[in-house]
């Protein structure tokens, strides 16, 4: 089932086009990474899904229904610019936002108790936000985002401000939520988290969607057909024209590490077979492009042809 469907969303501000006919689908129960350089239009898209601003044209459906104000109860939103009322106490703060999201006070209290228990924050109810450390406040804000049990979660750089320990804690919660069927739209610049968390990826650049699909598909699509081989004897790649030796460097233990690109589209096994005749192969591994590489490559506007 499709959790979020946008159909040719266009948003124009006075001087510039923020979104240009952006269509995308987010499958229910997946984590979808929303990527793009600064100013690409990610925030505008997120704000439109949150109904903070209206698109000039285009349709949005949430769980198969046209987006409408009542849907705020289904959506949880953690904006990149975090913010809480500084003078308010932790409990009041959480209650207020939860009620605005449509929860009853009783339910909200129950949930707050659950999360306080789980995150070991029992004594925090009466503390003022201004007295908390940045990381603590971030935790509170994260709880506030998921307290009303949203079915669709929008997280904008959720790990910024967290130490590795807390980041792990939050990651676990996110994965738990996913397991329970929550759909997550995940906007970030950290490519390593995209690789470890996201099932699908949407890339936006200059107001346009330039790429989407599952992470595996995309990495497959951007294969460079390059293998990294560790071996003992030097390589002489023959016949030329079939393979290209990109680099060969001696490493410790008398080994050599080489990178070889397959030029004629033949299978890796062919390459391995050729190599075995020439040298003792210690390891053989296909080089899979990182999401960061793909990102840079696409955003720089270079062709789809791999450079390496």
């Amino acid at each position: 089932m499709i959790a979020l469907h946008t159909d040719r969303i266009t948003k124009r501000y006075a001087e510039h086009l923020a979104l240009d006919e952006v269509s995308l689908d987010v499958q229910q129960g997946t984590i979808c990474g929303l990527l793009g350089p600064n100013g690409a239009g990610k925030t505008t898209l997120i704000r439109i899904i949150n109904q903070i601003i209206q698109p000039d044209s285009g349709r949005i459906e949430l769980f198969g229904e046209p987006l409408r104000p009542q849907h705020v109860a289904l959506i949880g939103y953690l904006p990149e610019e975090r913010g809480l009322y500084k003078k308010l106490r932790v409990g009041e703060q959480l209650l207020y936002i939860a009620q605005l999201r449509g929860m009853s006070k009783k339910d909200a209290m129950q949930k707050i108790r659950y999360w306080f228990e789980r995150l070991d924050l029992k004594d925090w109810w009466g503390k003022r936000i201004e007295d908390l450390s940045k990381g603590m406040a971030q935790k509170i804000q994260f709880i506030s985002t998921i307290l009303h049990e949203p079915r669709f979660l929008i997280l904008d750089e959720p790990f910024s401000g967290f130490d590795p320990l807390n980041a792990k804690l939050i990651t676990d919660i996110i994965l738990d939520l996913k397991k329970s069927g929550v759909t997550i739209l995940f906007s970030t610049h950290r490519m390593e988290t995209v690789e470890s968390l996201c099932d699908d990826v949407v890339l936006i650049n200059r107001a346009q969607k330039i790429l989407d699909g599952t992470r595996f598909q995309i990495q497959d699509q951007f294969r460079t057909h390059t293998a990294e081989i560790e071996h003992r004897q030097p390589l002489t790649m023959q016949p030329a024209g079939r393979y290209e030796l990109l680099e060969s460097t001696p490493i410790e233990g008398g080994k050599i590490r080489s990178r070889v690109r397959i030029l004629d589209g033949s299978h890796q096994n062919e390459l391995l077979r050729t190599l075995i005749d020439q040298t003792e192969v210690v390891s053989f591994r296909e080089q899979i492009p990182s999401m960061g590489d793909i990102f840079i490559q696409l955003v720089n506007g270079s062709s789809n042809q791999p450079k390496r």
């Binding site: 913010g83 207020y96 936002i97 605005l100």
Partner: protein, 442 residues
């Protein structure tokens, strides 16, 4: 609507539960009278302590006989003006009054020499004494008996009686009407400012702390603005309610006190017909009679309708300016930045405030007073200043209607600026951008 209610409750409780609210609510009705009373007391003490100013008089005409009183002590000098000046400079005296040999038909050339200014009150007193002298001289030259003269100086009490529309008559005390109008006008002016600023600070806090992004993803900006404005308004109303209760109970205590006191002389008169007692009672009775009259005048005030009108104009004025304050708060990033707009926004209210003193309290039925109390920008202050004097029903109705229209329109415009402004940070805001935001589609 449910969400607006949640916001109203939050804003209301958040403010009312603070200790500062309790302190302000209880202290303000005590502090203001205390300050005014204290200043009066100091003034009296100052006057007592300073005693009469001594003033030398050089009378070249020989016609002036100035009697020393508790304000000014006169000492006659002789000789030339230059000599008198020397004497004055050598002395501790505060002034030298020079009276030339003037003609009665054209008294000119009076001069007062001082080293430090004598103060407006004493200079005025001096002027009065001189005018009186000259009038006396003139009247005497017309051969009028001094006794007749003395008896002609009678003070006249003018009782103002208002004929009501139903033909009934009612004594009205212009002094009290003035005071009531002034106090209500000032209160509204201050309160609109105070609570308006609270709205603005609240909006700026939400914007600068970035809570706003989460808030507007749950409610429409207009609901948020409305909830905040109404929430703070209910804080204001609660505060007023407490003040009214405090003031009414305090003044009924005062009334009781005077009510009891005013019975006593009458009892004394009938019970003790002794001469001295009678005189005593007479004097006391007169004083008490004044007090009773004053209280009656207060009781004659249409308290209920005044309160209703006051609350209406407080709410109306507050809602209108509150929306403006919210718009200002939404368009800036900090309180400092807000100042450039805060002043222009409140200028119309300030005009109403100035008009209250310069026009309305002096002549509540002049055409300027009329317009000030009709135009919604100034009417909250102007109309409450006027209403105690009696305003035709249609004027009141028109003014209220326009005020309602005014704040509806203002809230609409402010809402349009607000919904853009709260999401814009780091924008250089001027009047043109505000206009652009108000007309922009989102």
């Amino acid at each position: 609507m449910n969400k607006v209610w949640i916001i109203i409750r939050q804003e209301f409780l958040n403010r009312v539960q603070k200790r500062t609210f309790l302190i302000a609510t209880i202290l303000v009705p005590l502090i203001f009278p205390a300050i005014i009373g204290g200043m009066f007391y100091l003034m009296m003490e100052e006057e007592k302590a300073s005693g009469p100013s001594s003033v030398f008089v050089l009378d070249e005409s020989g016609k002036i006989q100035l009697k020393s009183n508790e304000q000014i002590q006169f000492t006659a000098l002789t000789g030339t003006l230059e000599e008198a000046k020397q004497v004055y400079k050598a002395s501790e005296s505060e002034g030298l009054l020079y009276v030339p040999d003037f003609k009665e038909e054209n008294p000119e050339g009076f001069q007062l020499y001082t080293e430090k200014n004598l103060g407006i009150e004493k200079t005025g007193e001096l002027r009065n004494l001189l005018s009186e002298q000259i009038r006396d001289i003139k009247l005497r030259s017309l051969q009028i008996d001094p006794a007749v003269l003395e008896s002609s100086k009678k003070k006249v009490e003018l009782e103002v009686i208002k004929i009501l529309e139903d033909g009934e008559e009612e004594r009205s005390n212009n002094g009290i009407l003035n005071a009531v109008g002034m106090v209500m006008g000032i209160l509204i002016y201050m309160m609109v400012f105070l609570y308006g600023a609270q709205i603005m600070h609240g909006v700026i806090e939400e914007k600068s702390s970035k809570v706003i992004e989460v808030l507007v993803s749950t409610v429409r900006p207009f609901q948020l603005m409305l909830g905040k404005i109404i929430g703070i308004a209910s804080v204001g109303l609660l505060q007023f309610l407490i003040w009214i209760v405090l003031i009414v109970s305090l003044s009924s205590m005062v009334t009781d006190y005077f009510g009891v006191a005013s019975v006593k002389p009458a009892q004394i008169q009938t019970m003790a017909p002794g001469a001295s007692a009678l005189a005593d009672a007479g004097e006391n009775g007169l004083k008490n009679e004044d007090a009773v009259k004053l209280i009656q005048d207060f009781e004659n005030l249409p308290v209920v309708s005044l309160t209703v009108v006051f609350l209406f104009y407080f709410l109306g004025g507050y809602l209108m300016y509150g929306a403006l304050f919210a718009a200002v708060g939404s368009s800036v990033d900090s309180v400092q930045e807000a100042q450039q707009f805060q002043f222009p926004v409140t200028v119309p209210l300030f005009i109403g405030y100035l008009g209250l003193f310069t026009f309305i309290l002096r002549d509540p039925h002049s055409s300027i007073s009329f317009w000030l109390s009709i135009i919604p920008f100034t009417s909250p202050v102007a109309m409450v200043g006027r209403v105690a004097f009696g305003v035709p029903a249609w004027e009141l109705g028109l003014s209220m209607l326009l005020l309602v229209g005014g704040f509806l329109g203002m809230t609409w415009v402010a809402g349009r600026i607000y919904r853009v402004g709260i999401l814009m940070t780091g924008t250089k805001v001027n009047w043109r951008t505000l206009y652009k935001w108000a007309t922009m589609k989102l």
